[in-house]
Amino acid sequence: MDLAANLLLGLETAATPINLLYCLIGVVLGTAIGVLPGLGPAATVAMLLPVTFGLAPTTALIMLAGIYYGAQYGGSTTAILVNLPGEASSVVTAIDGHRMARAGRAGQALAAAAIGSFVAGTAGTFLIALFGPPLAEIALAFRPADYFSLMVLGLVAAMVLAHGSILHAAGMATLGLLLGTAGTDVTSGTARFTFGLPQLADGIGFVVVAMGMFGIGEIMADLQRAARREVATHALGGLWPAREDWRRMAAPILRGTALGSALGILPGGGPILAAFGAYALEKKVSAHRDELGTGAIEGVAGPEAANNAGAQTSFIPMLTLGIPANPVMALMIGAMIVHGIQPGPSVMTDQPALFWGLIASMWIGNAMLLALNLPLIGVWVRLLRVPYGYLFPAILAFCAIGAYSLSNATFDVHLMALFGILGYALNRLDCGPAPLLLGFVLGPMMEEFLRRALILSAGDPWVFATRPISAAFLLLAAALLASVLVPAVKRTRARAFAE
């Protein structure tokens, strides 16, 4: 099947009234919740995941994808208007974006973010369509040992690209792996770490973990900070960028899109790394680089394009290989499993309508974001003005209801609270939770592949080194780890995360 035919199939699927409706709902809901301080895309997706359970699989994934980049855009809105980034990838946007807002140019900043994101989204959609099928083809040649090593690479990459010390990222990933083993062991039927509780027989729900750590834990930490948020009440300025703005935006958007697309595919990469990388690039290359930091539109357009491109291309490893590149993709994989779809290279051939429909809907969703968000800015501003004291009980309520609705079990609410405490503890220890969630989702899969690989090799552990693909992944992982120890890389990481 060639590209055009695939995209046509995708558009047909994505443009049905039901899918369009849920794409719209996803984008709006995602933006609304992404705007709220303290809830990043991962928490937003986790919170709204239960809502999608009653939908058809394609529709559910379309809505979730819409929620994802809606939440990204919502986070950027907050970053520009309030200088409180909702998520790490919006930190960079806040630097110049909020300066622009203070100078009365919030409207142009928001427009730059939306336009940059749309261009990047379009490019990202094409990239997925272009590279998805070949990658899936390659992946079909993978054997269990190769998959295991790929997942090891994924975890290592997530650790290297994670915030904070590598040792703790490794600890988080390992802890996640351990938590993933809880439940009934598929092969032997033994109950592991279930404490005799029937509710744990199927393991710990990943949504519960995500909501607890990213949502509840974040609320606990935010309450401690008790920041007095002042929404930029300055004039929004015209929403339509001036000609000068268009000219200055063009190159950063293109650069950001290219960089973001490349970085998004890396496990652990995605929007965060893309945004930081794009800002650094602009600082080196832009014609107006000395204005960066004082309210230059390049500082918004570039990173925003990059983080949206990164968000789109991070779907590639998820859709083709079944490997989550970041926590949100891990949630998507979980959603697919719940809907009975086994993620992996066969998704493309077994469910072409789902695959291409999802890709096409991403472009449609980006278009919706562009069209809607500029008029809806007034709504978001009003939302941001609600004092946090009223907001957080509502967020907590939605999380609790969501957790309960997963399996109509109050046990899950208790469990979510427990993970909230864990999330808070990790926050105080400055250990980023992202590697934990990745390890948690990858854990069962890794165990399965390890088991199969060792059965096939009759217990010989060298199979991971002798199979060329597997060896390549492991070498790459080792190289990544070693690179972190190199002083130059160390400094760059420290600077990037300190900003």
């Binding site: 309450l223 009980p393 509502a394 609705s405 208790h414």
Partner: protein, 150 residues
């Protein structure tokens, strides 16, 4: 022991890892290990717990020798009230119904904010919010819970 080691982040995080790893070893002690070629149910967990233990020990050692970053301050109030709110919701939901459970959650959670002062207006907002949620989730989305206790 170096200066400031007792509040070192590495020490506490490492202690957490070690504690969890040891607990895992203890709980999993009876799981069949099997061999590499025929992995039992205990193989992978033990392997991972071992790695976690190693990381924990390394972290503690690093923290004792070079304390580096300190643990950030702990605030008991948010943790207590947010957790309490969730637990109250979970306990009340099936016994007393959706409305009382949600009301309890919001009421308890409100106190997690140390600047919270009770006011009639806030009570009205709470009632409105709980009512709206009941309409959306129970009536609208069909959440299978009773609105009240009968």
């Amino acid at each position: 022991m170096a200066q400031g080691a007792h509040r070192s982040r590495d020490v506490w995080a490492g202690a957490l890892y070690v504690a969890i790893a040891v607990a895992a070893f203890w709980i999993a002690r009876d799981y069949r290990l099997g061999t590499a070629a025929r992995m039992g149910s205990g193989y992978f967990p033990m392997l991972v717990a071992g790695v976690l233990l190693a990381i924990g020990v390394a972290s503690i050692l690093r923290g004792l020798l070079r304390p580096g970053a300190q643990v950030l301050a702990l605030a008991v109030r948010p943790v207590l009230f947010v957790t309490g709110a969730c637990v109250a919701f979970a306990l009340l939901l099936e016994r007393a119904g959706f409305v009382p459970a949600l009301a309890a959650l919001c009421a308890i959670a409100a106190f997690a904010d140390r600047d919270f002062r009770p006011a009639w207006r806030k009570l009205a907002i709470l009632a409105g919010f709980v009512g709206a949620c009941a309409l959306v989730f129970v009536v609208g989305l069909g959440l299978p819970v009773k609105p009240f206790w009968r």
